[in-house]
């Protein structure tokens, strides 16, 4: 697919005009708002769908905050940790992850994306503070049973992003643009994973056996037909020292498919009838995901042996994932 073909396909797929009256509706909404551009937009958006959603969301957030505060007060009075899979409610955990994710997003501004990036240190530091805060919050309380496996992966990805950002800053100090590229990709990979999976955690709900099975099957089709995954788990030698871009691209494509299935099982909680199979699938996905994280880290230090070892683990993990998904 060359540039011209992509241009044509984008226009074929997306060409659309704004709905009739859309601009006028916006103009009227702006004109009706108080005569100062300061203050809460949510109140000026009265009458629009987004305004209603924001108001409802804000109310929900306040209620959730109160629940979390009450939970934490009770929690701190007895113990600093909660037994795994039992203490924290699903809603409290979802709220914690959601708030920390929002905080991490607000502080991420593609730090040190180029060697000439001014404010690189400040940007990286701001992002690091938010990620450490997230990790601390997760370490202070253990997740409900539904999220035990994905929580462990979330911690690994946050740690990966932290390692990437530290390496990024070190490389920028050394003015090593190649090392900066590799470090940036490691940091961004963790962020891409949280971008994909956190919404699944936050919106997670109990579903029927049919809904769960359909969701797993739909996502596993992408995984089994994933060309990058097949190359990465194949027997051919891949020399990353000669072709780093190729290795990064293979990781990109494979991570996308693994994360897609992780989102599916996080968002659609398995009913009891699928409990054992779901646990096995989640654990095998986690093995594949961990192998990918270690391969990313190996690329950071140009560690070919580490990359090759990751491929072997990934091969067995993805084979197991395929069997798990086929059994559902």
């Amino acid at each position: 697919m060359d540039d011209r073909a992509l241009f044509d396909r984008m226009h074929d797929a997306l060409d659309i005009e704004p709905p009739a009256g859309a601009f006028e509706r916006m103009r009227v909404a702006l004109a009706k708002s108080p005569a100062t551009p300061h203050g809460w937009a949510v109140f000026r958006m009265k009458g629009s769908k987004m305004g209603f959603r924001l108001a409802a969301g804000l109310t929900l957030l306040v209620l959730m905050g109160a629940i979390v505060a009450a939970y934490l007060a009770a929690h701190n009075a007895t113990s600093s940790r909660v037994p795994a899979g039992s203490g924290q409610t699903i809603a409290a955990y979802q709220n914690l992850v959601n708030l920390d994710d929002q905080n991490a997003n607000a502080t991420w501004s593609d730090p040190c994306d180029t060697a000439t990036h001014t404010g690189c240190q400040a940007d990286a530091t701001r992002a690091l503070v938010a990620l450490h805060q997230w990790l601390d919050d997760l370490n202070r309380s253990e997740p409900p049973a539904r999220f035990l496996v994905v929580d462990a992966q979330l911690r690994q990805h946050i740690s990966g992003s932290i390692a990437g950002l530290n390496a990024l800053f070190a490389a920028s100090q050394a003015n090593d643009s190649n090392a900066m590229d590799r470090a940036f990709l490691l940091a961004a990979a963790g962020r891409a994973w949280t971008d994909a999976v956190v919404p699944g955690i936050v919106s997670s709900k109990q579903v029927t056996a049919a809904e769960y099975a359909n969701s797993v099957r739909a996502q596993s089709i992408f995984l089994t037909s994933c060309a990058d995954c097949q190359v990465l788990t194949g027997q051919s030698q891949i020399d990353c020292s000669q072709n780093q871009d190729f290795c990064q691209t293979l990781l990109d494509g494979t991570e996308l498919q693994v994360a897609g299935l992780q989102v599916a099982v996080a968002a659609f909680a398995a009913p009891d009838s699928f409990s054992a199979k779901d646990t096995r699938l989640q654990q095998d996905l986690a093995r594949a995901d961990s192998a990918l994280i270690s391969m990313r880290a190996s690329l950071l230090t140009l560690n070919q042996a580490g990359f090759d070892a990751g491929r072997i683990t990934l091969r067995t993990a993805l084979a197991a994932v395929s069997l798990d998904a086929a059994a559902i």
Binding site: A29, A31, P37, H117, V202, D252, G253, V263
Partner: protein, 179 residues
């Protein structure tokens, strides 16, 4: 309100908007409304959500109008705010990753199938990657303007577009193989 009828230059409109005239701010973004809507639709794939996102972004932009540096273009600044608003909307719906097409997609023509596949492929990318692809291949922006919109260097903009294309290509090819 109403001052906009007598304010013609961009500088006049900016001043009127800063003084609290919402209509003046609307007039400022009018030339960029279609581009903003297209960015939002390219990112969200939903007409109603795109319209809401642009409206919400307009309020945010109006509120931050003082941050617009003299001499900077309004368009890249506004489109960046639209892009950020769409990120917020996307994050509130996990199904942007999972959502499948409606049943009538089963009896689609080849062209429609290709369009559906591309939209689905775009949904599987991260927000940043989708944004650069929409800016480059849907709004036909040069790398310089993408760079200004995203607050990065033109070289970084080019790298990011190339990286996004590299991620999109295998997804589209896989879909082709699966069909």
């Amino acid at each position: 309100m109403g001052q906009v009828l007598f304010a013609h230059t961009e500088a006049d409109l900016i001043q009127a908007a800063k003084d609290g005239d919402g209509s003046a701010f609307a007039e400022l973004v009018r030339p960029h409304y279609q581009a903003a809507f297209r960015v939002a639709y390219g990112l969200l794939h939903d007409v109603d959500e795109a319209e809401d996102a642009v409206q919400e972004a307009a309020f945010k932009a109006w509120r931050r109008l003082a941050n617009l540096r003299e001499g900077s273009g309004l368009r890249p600044w506004f489109l960046a705010i639209v892009g950020n608003q769409c990120r917020t909307v996307s994050k509130s719906r996990w199904w942007s990753v999972l959502r499948v097409e409606p049943p009538d997609a089963q009896v689609r023509s080849v062209d429609v199938a290709a369009a559906v596949d591309l939209r689905r492929a775009l949904r599987r990318l991260g927000h940043d990657e989708r944004l650069v692809l929409v800016l480059r291949y849907y709004l036909d922006m040069p790398f310089d303007e993408i760079a200004t919109t995203l607050g990065i260097s033109p070289k970084a903009a080019r790298n990011r577009v190339e990286r996004a294309v590299r991620r999109l290509r295998p997804i589209v090819q896989n879909q082709g193989a699966a069909v």
